[in-house]
Amino acid sequence: MKYRLFLVAALIFAASFPDFSIAQAVKVKPAKSPAAKKADPVKSDTPATESKTTINKAPVLLPAVKTGISFWSSASSALPFPELPYEYGALEPVIDKLTVEIHYDRHHRAYYNNFMKAIADTKMASMPITEIFANIAEFPVAVRNNGGGFYNHVLYWENMSPKGGGEPTGELAEMIKKYFGSFSAFTEKFNEAAKSRFGSGWAWLSYDPLNGELFVSSTANQDNPLMQVAERKGIPLLALDVWEHAYYLKYQNKRADYVTEFWKMVNWPEVDKRLKAAVGR
């Protein structure tokens, strides 16, 4: 319940940036304004996090977060299907062009279309998707499956980049070290979550707003850590799709190889932005 209140507060907070439209969020990528960088830290409504991290509490809902909090705070029925942030072949050789094309244009688009159908003319149409997730047990299973499928893939595409790889820096790196011991201990834990998810699902790095911790988990099918039904709830920072469709054309039964290769594509600046946005609210 505390968590639900938190989400609501976060959404009100996000909604207080009226000049940040969806159109901007999706298509425009304005330069970081110096003002945003220098903005005074705001009081966080999660004091638990303050003593635990050194993260700047400034509102980092920066436009550079392509589909960040502002994007998701609009009414679900108004959400567009975001463009892929790179070409289909851009993740080669880690993820082949055909896989990206089918995955984005067929699987992801179908989740989006089916989600829109499932919420049309219901009270969910005007709710932000995060609020739907927070109360997912009340809603039809089609909303859970397709809403999750829509949201999860947006995160997945955006937390990869043809220029990805390496290791995180700054506060994200510090927090990973703090909660996992080291970067390699973290990747090992994440790999284990990804490999041991039996059947279809996702592996996650998330931020727990109740205690300010980072944690690794996996979810079945198209569930995610924002959902009421998640074993441990949090704000997802890094998403890895381990449905067979995500890797089968290239890796077949070798999911472990796909998981290992994934790290070469991770867009750490994007993950860092998600962390800042999650902590900042």
Partner: protein
């Protein structure tokens, strides 16, 4: 040891063009094999080792999850290979045909029910035709590698026909088009074998 990894009752390319050779090869030698190996490792040295799969499934809720996942994967694929054939297709005859007509109204109606079960199973899983304890037929689906013999299943019975709808079963050829794979499946069903399974399942 009780358990044996079966060889395929036909060549890897025998189900072409409906199921391609590479899919069959990986499915049998990698996926199925891995379930078998992990299942054997999971039961080794435990009291489960001397039981039959049916006995293990009847108490699966109390077994480790590795036994459920890999024992299911082992058994389900055994059945799957057997009910497929390069000379399959058509319709069942005899007692099974009568039972299908009695339960579902017609063979087409049964197919529609089975297709829906297979298409609507979200994520990984199986569609089944099984025989319940009262000898009646039942169409259902299960997640992951569960099956109707397991005590966790919501429509328990003896499976006589199974369709693998994990993406690995069809992705190389059909990608996101699961319904096309389900449609092709009917050209491969070995109804003689399914009838034999049906007669054996009757109590």
């Amino acid at each position: 040891m009780n358990f044996e990894f079966p060889s395929l009752p036909y060549a890897y390319d025998a189900l072409e063009p409906h199921i391609d050779k590479l899919t069959m090869e990986i499915h049998h030698t990698k996926h199925h094999r891995a379930y078998f190996d992990k299942f054997v490792a999971a039961v080794a040295g435990t009291e489960l080792e001397s039981k039959t799969l049916e006995e293990i499934f009847a108490g699966i809720s109390k077994a480790p999850v590795a036994v459920r996942n890999n024992g299911g994967g082992f058994f389900n694929h055994n059945l799957f290979w057997e009910i497929l054939s390069p000379n399959g297709g058509g319709q069942p005859t005899g007692k099974l045909a009568e039972a299908i007509a009695a339960k579902f109204g017609s063979f087409d109606e049964f197919k529609t029910r089975f297709n829906d079960a297979a298409a609507n199973r979200f994520g990984s899983g199986w569609a089944w035709l099984s025989v319940k304890a009262d000898n009646s037929l039942c169409v259902c689906s299960s997640p992951n590698q569960d099956n109707p013999l397991m005590d966790v299943h919501d429509c328990q019975g003896t499976p006589i026909l199974g369709l693998d709808v994990w993406e690995h079963a069809y992705y190389l050829k059909y990608q996101n088009r699961r319904p096309d794979y389900i449609g092709a499946f009917w050209s491969l069903v070995n109804w003689e074998k399914v009838s034999e399974n049906y007669m054996k399942a009757l109590k």
